[in-house]
């Protein structure tokens, strides 16, 4: 258990590091005065609707990461010898 727990903790730590990048990038964008970063900037006169499009929405991470982790676990179980 201890060895397995250590592995899991290291993986959880790496996940945090993984999420830290996008979080910092989005925070930096916010700090740099990129108005309307998370959504609509409204109607820009005759230029229609303009949005900024962050690639990764950290708020929606849980679902995607659960899918990725679940598929990885299933694939790994298929390869594991009983």
């Amino acid at each position: 258990m201890r060895r397995r727990g250590t592995k899991i903790l290291v993986l959880v730590g790496l996940c945090w590091l993984w999420l830290a990048g996008p979080v910092c990038a989005q925070n930096n964008q916010g700090n740099q005065g990129n108005q309307g970063n998370q959504g609509n900037q409204g109607n820009q006169g005759n230029r229609g609707t303009r949005v900024s499009a962050p690639e990764i929405d950290v708020g929606a991470a849980a679902g995607a990461l659960t899918i990725a982790a679940g598929v990885l676990a299933i694939l790994r179980e298929r390869r594991r010898r009983p």
């Binding site: 258990m1 201890r2 690639e55 990764i56 659960t66």
Partner: protein, 547 residues
């Protein structure tokens, strides 16, 4: 209390004193670091301050390299960590750590005072002597050394440094390399954004005769819908996420993959992710122009990046599992029994999450496609029903009690927003009144019957025993340890986006499982909690609890 006693009494073993001390010291160091980094700004203008005051601006770089190097050191030691931990515990049995802790706290206070003298006042008031930065760095190093001395004896650290000199050197190089890679990627942000901008513009011209393009602002689109491609939207985030997932995949499946061919997956995945991001941006403009600006700005805007990540990452993994170029042997056609069981436990939750991501992507507001989750997850449970025959499906008053207790904790920690500030039709389901009743029926059915089963099968049926032993089907509920219960509950809390309430709820269900000895107890407890929450929501119009 020894392990035999805890086993006989059927209670969870307590945490060892060394582990408690280690966790407390880590928390203390974290609080100290947060206090110092949030309290003082090393990047402020130096103005009339002495020239060396500008050097303090490099302190965050040192901290970043130190943290990255520390993480790399732990990963490099990986398999030896349990042995090293045992050695540390043994050698520190008679360690008088109280004195070291007192010294650390005093040194930390001194370091804070010196930092305040250098960074808290006006730049002109900074003492000019070169001795100050030397004292600052010396006191900082003393704080760290005394913290290490609190954790274990100096003799242990000396032996560790001697034995693991190569790992220390490699971790230092990794730390510096990580910082260098960060600097390089920042320098490449602008060129990558320009390339993405050009590709999106070219793709749009294939579909729309009139494409608006403002290179100076990195804005591209049509007359009615435009997208600003900031550097962060240029593909780096997706590339980083896919690279991480594929690195994890290469590590976990290293015994089954052909090397060095398998390393090609990293650049291939990065390229595929960048292309997927360009397609995502093109689709965003097309959706906003031709279908619905609200839809483009709503769910698609939020979910498309993750969908692209999943398609690329999982697509590469699935293809390489069967490709002779990358895999040593394809998986056996006959799926082993334990893998079938794992699929039955995890599959419904994966289906539930996939439906949630996909339906959110095509929702411009509200959760009106919730019934889809109930249908797909229900179908997944039905498809996997053979795998659940080994589980004893029964119920007990104890499980009901655990469910009620969790409901109480949940309401205390996650109080509902004032009812009048939130209308069901406004926030949750912008549907006609007649359909709202149908929607509520599915919402109750899902949260009371379907979702608890899918979540308990995954978290208490798979994750919890898997944290105890590789051969998870053989783990009895009574063998589940504190660490496994806590860690699986934290993951459960993360999934729900409610850290504390979710973690405590997960712990409650884990204890129900452990007390009754079968998974059905956790399922019944979870169902009870969700049924009470549903009753509370409907009777009190506390719709925010369903958000």
């Amino acid at each position: 209390m020894n392990p035999t006693t805890t086993k006989r009494l059927g209670i969870l073993p307590t945490l060892p004193a060394h582990a408690l001390r280690g966790i407390s010291l880590l928390a203390l160091l974290g609080v100290e670091l947060l206090t110092l980094t949030l309290g003082f700004d090393t990047q402020r203008p130096t103005g009339a301050a002495p020239r060396w005051a500008g050097w303090l601006g490099y302190a965050p770089t040192g901290l970043y390299i130190g943290l990255a190097g520390g993480a790399a050191f732990l990963v490099l030691l990986g398999p030896r960590l349990p042995t090293l931990w045992q050695t540390m515990c043994t050698s520190s049995r008679h360690h008088r750590w109280g004195l070291w802790l007192a010294g650390h706290l005093v040194a930390c206070g001194g370091f804070t005072c010196v930092t305040a003298a250098l960074l808290a006042g006006e730049p002109a008031a900074v003492p000019p002597s070169l001795l100050w930065p030397v004292v600052w760095m010396g006191s900082g190093a003393t704080v760290l050394l005394l913290w290490l001395g609190t954790l274990a004896t100096p003799r242990f650290w000396w032996h560790l440094a001697s034995q693991e000199a190569a790992a220390v050197l490699a971790a230092s190089l990794v730390g510096v390399g990580a910082w260098g890679a960060g600097q390089l990627s920042q320098a490449l942000w602008a060129p990558l954004a320009q390339t993405t901008f050009w590709v999106v513009g070219s793709l749009l011209r294939l579909v729309y005769p009139e494409v608006h393009s403002y290179p100076a602002e990195q804005v591209v689109g049509t007359a009615t819908f435009e997208v600003a491609i900031a550097p962060a939207c240029s593909g780096y985030e997706g590339v980083g996420c896919v690279m991480f997932l594929l690195t994890l995949y290469l590590w976990l499946f290293r015994a089954h993959l052909r090397f060095p061919q398998a390393l090609m997956l990293l650049p291939l995945g990065a390229l595929a992710s960048w292309v997927a991001n360009a397609l995502r941006l093109t689709a965003l403009v097309a959706l906003g122009t031709s279908v619905s600006p609200a839809l483009a700005q709503g769910g698609f805007h939020s979910q498309a990046g993750w969908i692209a990540f999943l398609l690329v990452g999982l697509g590469v993994m699935t293809v390489t599992q069967r490709c002779a170029l990358f895999t040593v042997l394809p998986p056996a056609p006959a799926i082993p029994a334990h893998a079938q069981y794992a699929t039955a436990l995890l599959g419904p939750l994966v289906v539930l999450m996939a439906t949630r991501v996909l339906t959110a992507a095509v929702s411009s507001g509200g959760d009106w496609l919730y019934p889809m989750r109930v249908v797909t997850t229900g179908l997944a449970l039905w498809a996997c029903r053979q795998g659940y025959r080994r589980l004893a499906w029964t119920w007990s008053w104890h499980a009901l009690g655990w469910g009620i207790a969790v409901w109480g904790v949940w309401l205390v920690l996650e109080p509902a927003a004032p009812p009048r500030s939130l209308g069901l039709a406004e926030r949750l389901v912008p549907l006609p009144p007649g359909l709202i009743a149908v929607w509520i029926g599915f919402r109750v059915l899902g949260s009371v019957l379907i979702i608890p089963v899918a979540e308990e099968l995954a978290f208490r049926g798979y994750v919890l025993p898997k944290l105890v032993a590789t051969d998870f089907p053989a783990v009895r509920p009574s063998q589940c340890t504190w660490w496994a219960c806590l860690l699986s509950s934290v993951l459960f809390g993360v999934l729900h986006g409610r850290w504390l309430a979710g973690t405590l709820a997960g712990l409650g269900y884990a204890l129900a499982l452990r007390q009754r000895g079968h998974l059905a107890a956790a399922v019944v407890a979870h169902m009870t909690t969700n049924a009470l929450i549903a009753a509370y929501v409907l009777s009190q119009h506390a719709w925010s609890l369903w958000l």
